[in-house]
Amino acid sequence: MTFAPSLAPRLLTATAIMALGLAACDSGNNDAAEAPATPDAAVADATPDTPIEEATQSTETTLTIVSWGGAYTKAQIEGFHKPFSERTGIIIQSDDYDGNIAPIKAQVESGNVVWDAVDVETAEAVRLCDEGLTVPVDHSSLPPAPDGTPALKDFLPGTLFECAVPISVWSNVFAFDASKYPETAPSTLDDFFDLETYPGKRGLRKIPKFNLEFALMADGVATDKVYEVLSTPQGVDRAFAKLDTIKDEVIWWEAGAQPPQLLADGEVVMTSAFNGRIFNAQIAEKQPFEIIWDRQIWDLDLWVMPKGGKNLDAAMDFVSFATSTEGLAGQASWIAYGPSRKSTLELVGAHAEYPDVDMKSHMPTTPERLANGLQNDYEFWADYNDELEQRFNAWLAQ
C-alpha cells in the first residue's frame, strides 16, 4: 500500500534495505569463511593449521546466492548448491531476483553487501564491471577440465569477462501451444509477426533488448547485420515500425515464469520466452508447448560477485565449483541451458528426474540452432540500453 504517493520509490528502497538487513542478520558471523569443514580441490587454500577452539567457536559460513527463480533456480539448487554444501559445509541461502541490478548498486554504495554471488546477463555483467560494482576474477585460477585442459581453453571462446564467470548459454525463443494449431503450426520468426495467418495475442518481454533484434530480423535484416543496422537512427526507426505492426496485440511480460503461464491460460497464442522455462513446462508439466528455434537470440548467464562482499573467498570457491566441469553438468541435467564449458557438453545426457529425456536435443547450443541464431551483442546493449529504454518506454506509452 503506497500511503505517501511521492514517497513510493523511497519507501521501496527503505523496505528493500530493511529486507536486506534481515538477510544480513541471517548470515551472521562469517569469521569461518576461510575454514571450510572438509578440504577439497575447490577450496585448496583452506588453512589446515586453524586452531581447534576457533574452528569450533565460529559459526558456519552462509552464502547468499542470487538467481532468477522458478525452474532455473531449482536446477541451480540441485546442480550447484547441494553438492557444494555437502563438500564444504558452507550453507547456501538462495535468493530470487528479476534481473534488476539496482540492489547490487544500492548494496555496494551503502557498504552493506549481502549478496555474495549473482547470476546476471552479459550486458549487466559488463556494465557492473565498468562501474566498479563487481570484483575482477582471475580466470586462470578456475579449475581445469577433468582431462587437464586449463580453464581458459575449456570455456567457450569469447565467454570470459573481466569480472564474471560464464555459467550457461540460454536463449530467447518463441513458443506456442501446439494443440491450438492442429494443421499448420507456426515455425519461423516471420510467423510471429504474421497476424493474418496466425491471429491472436502475442507475448513479449517488456524491454527493448531482443525485441528490436527480432523485429529487424523479421523485417528482412540478416542475422549478421542486425547490430550494424540497429546502431543507426534509421535502423531503430525501422525496428519500432515493425513492432508497430503487432503493437496492439502484444501482452508484455516481465518475469521469466510468466510466458508459460500466459500460454497455459490461453491468454496469448505465441510468446517470446527463455527456452529453459518452456522446456520445464514441456517436461515437468506435460504442456503441449513447442519452441520455434528459428533465429533464436542467445546470451550467457554469468556469476558476478559484488564488491565489498563479506565472504568473497567463499563466494569465489562457490563460483569455481559452480563453473567446474562437474558443477555445470549438475545444472545441465535439470534445465536445458547449454553449459559454458566444452568438457561439460560431452557429459550432458539424461534429465535427472526424467531419464527418458535427452537433454542434448533441448539445448540451444546444437550446431544447427547456433548457426541459425544470433548472439546478443552485450557491448551494444551496455552502450545503448539507456537511450533505447527511454525510446521504448515512450513508444509503449503512446
Binding site: 503506497t2 505517501a4 513510493a8 520509490p9 565498468d130 566498479g132 529504454e389 527511454q390 515512450a394 506509452a397
Partner: protein, 416 residues
C-alpha cells in the same frame, strides 16, 4: 504551599513563582518525552528521505569526481568552437586513470543523462584511448567524430557542475542545448508529461467511481439495523484486509480474455467466442482494480459521517413540504460533505502513488507515473530522474491539497 498561604493573594512570592515555572517546565519535558519517539520516527522515516530525495534530484557530482582535472580545465573553456589541445590531453589522462580505477562507467552514465547516446562515446573511447597518439585534439575526433562537436563539450561543461537542472528538465520531457536554451525533446522521446496527465486522469476517474459506488453503500449501511449494517460492513472490510497483491491477481483471473467474466459473457451470448473483450492489461484493468482496492477509503468516512446525521433533519424538511429529492439535495447531501471530501482526497492521493496494481494489470496503456519512478529506481538506475519525478509528484499533491483547503477547507475533513 505554606509560603503561599501567608502571602498576599495577587502577588505570589518569587519562590512560588519559581516552583510553578519548574512544575510547568517539567510537564513540558514530560510531554515532549512522550512525543519524542514519534518525532524521531517521523524525522528518520519521512523528513530525511524526502530531503535526500530533493537533494538527489538536483545534486549529481559523479562526473566531477571521476574526471576531476577535466572538470576543472573545461570550466576555463569559453564555449566557442571546441577546447584546445591542453584540455584534450587532460581528458585522455583522466579517462585512463578513471578506467584503471573502474569508475569511468559512472562518468559515462552521467554524461548520457545529459546527451543520450554519449555513454557509448565515453566507454568506447576509454577502451581505446591508451593506443592513441598526441595531438589528441586530432586523434580523438578521428576515433569518434563526436569529440569534435561543440555540443558534446558544452554538455561536458554542464555535467562538471555538481548542481544540475537536468533531471527536472528530463522529467518534463525537456533538455538543454549547447547554447543553454531549453527545448522540448523529440516527439518519440517524450513520455513523462503525458504520463503525469494520465496519472491525474486515472486518479480522478477512480475517485469519481469510488464516490459513485461508495455513496449508496454507505447510505444503505447508515440507514439499516445495526446487525445488517455490520454484515455489510464485513463485506466492505474483508477485501480491505486482504493483501493488495492477492486482490490484484484475483482481478487477473476474473478479467483476462479466458477469464471468468469473459466466459460468462460468452455463455450468455453477449459476445462470440472469437470476440472476447480485452478487459485487462490496459487502462480498463488499472481503473477497475484500483477502484475496487480503494473503495473502502470512501465508504468508511462516508459511513462515519452519515451515522452522525440525525434522521429528524430530513423528516423536518419533508414535513415542511420539500419533495424527497429536494430534501436529499438541499439537506442531506450538504451534511455529508465532510465525508465526501475526506473520501475524495484520500482516494485521489493514494491513487496518484499507485504502482503495483498498474504494473500487474495495466499492460501498456495503464501504466502510471509511479511505474516509471519504480523503473528508474530499479532498472535504469537513474536515481536522479526518479527523484525529480517523485519531487514533481509531491509538488502536485501538495498543490492539490492546498486547492482543496481553499475550496472546501481541510477542517471539514472527517475520517470517521
Amino acid at each position: 504551599m505554606t509560603a503561599a498561604d501567608a502571602a498576599p493573594y495577587d502577588t505570589p512570592p518569587p519562590e512560588l513563582k519559581r516552583q510553578l515555572q519548574r512544575a510547568n517546565r517539567l510537564a513540558r519535558w514530560k510531554a515532549l518525552g512522550l512525543v519524542a519517539p514519534l518525532l524521531v520516527f517521523l524525522i528518520v522515516t519521512f523528513i530525511v528521505p524526502i530531503l535526500s530525495m530533493l537533494t538527489r534530484s538536483v545534486y549529481s557530482p559523479a562526473f566531477g569526481e571521476v574526471l576531476p582535472h577535466l572538470s576543472e580545465a573545461v570550466q576555463n573553456w569559453d564555449g566557442d568552437g571546441i577546447p584546445d589541445e591542453a584540455v584534450f590531453a587532460i581528458l585522455v589522462t583522466d579517462m585512463m586513470a578513471a578506467r584503471s580505477q573502474r569508475t569511468i562507467g559512472q562518468a559515462a552514465t552521467r554524461l548520457n543523462y545529459e546527451v543520450p547516446g554519449t555513454r557509448s562515446l565515453v566507454m568506447r573511447s576509454a577502451r581505446r584511448v591508451a593506443r592513441l597518439d598526441a595531438p589528441y585534439s586530432e586523434s580523438l575526433p578521428a576515433l569518434d567524430p563526436r569529440w569534435g562537436e561543440r555540443e558534446i563539450w558544452a554538455a561536458i561543461k554542464r555535467v562538471s557542475e555538481p548542481v544540475t537542472p537536468t533531471f527536472y528538465l528530463s522529467a518534463l520531457d525537456r533538455a538543454q542545448t549547447a547554447d543553454g536554451s531549453i527545448v522540448l525533446n523529440a516527439e518519440e522521446q517524450r513520455l513523462y508529461v503525458q504520463l503525469f496527465w494520465r496519472t491525474l486522469w486515472v486518479s480522478a476517474l477512480v475517485m469519481v467511481l469510488c464516490l459513485a459506488l461508495g455513496f449508496p453503500i454507505a447510505y444503505l449501511m447508515a440507514h439499516m439495523s445495526s446487525a445488517r449494517a455490520n454484515l455489510l460492513m464485513i463485506l466492505v472490510l474483508l477485501p480491505f484486509w486482504t493483501s493488495l497483491l492477492v486482490r490484484t491477481t484475483s482481478w487477473i483471473a476474473l478479467l483476462q480474455t479466458q477469464g471468468v467474466l469473459n466466459d460468462l459473457m460468452v455463455w450468455a451470448g453477449l459476445v462470440s467466442d472469437d470476440g472476447r473483450i480485452q478487459l485487462i492489461y490496459n487502462q480498463i484493468g488499472t481503473v477497475v482494480a484500483m477502484t475496487h482496492i480503494l473503495l473502502p477509503f470512501t465508504v468508511l468516512p462516508l459511513y462515519a459521517v452519515m451515522r452522525g446525521i440525525p434522521p429528524s433533519l430530513t423528516r423536518a424538511a419533508l414535513s415542511l413540504g420539500a419533495t424527497p429529492a429536494t430534501a436529499f439535495m438541499r439537506v442531506y447531501l450538504p451534511l455529508t460533505a465532510p465525508g465526501i471530501g475526506a473520501g475524495a482526497v484520500l482516494v485521489f492521493i493514494l491513487a496518484v502513488g499507485y504502482y503495483i496494481t498498474p504494473a500487474l494489470v495495466g499492460g501498456r496503456t495503464g501504466q502510471l507515473i509511479s511505474n516509471l519512478i519504480a523503473f528508474h529506481m530499479q532498472e535504469s538506475l537513474n536515481w536522479g530522474l526518479a527523484a525529480a519525478l517523485g519531487a514533481l509528484l509531491l509538488a502536485g499533491v501538495l498543490a492539490l491539497y492546498w486547492l482543496y483547503d481553499r475550496l472546501v477547507g481541510i477542517d471539514k475533513m472527517r475520517l470517521g
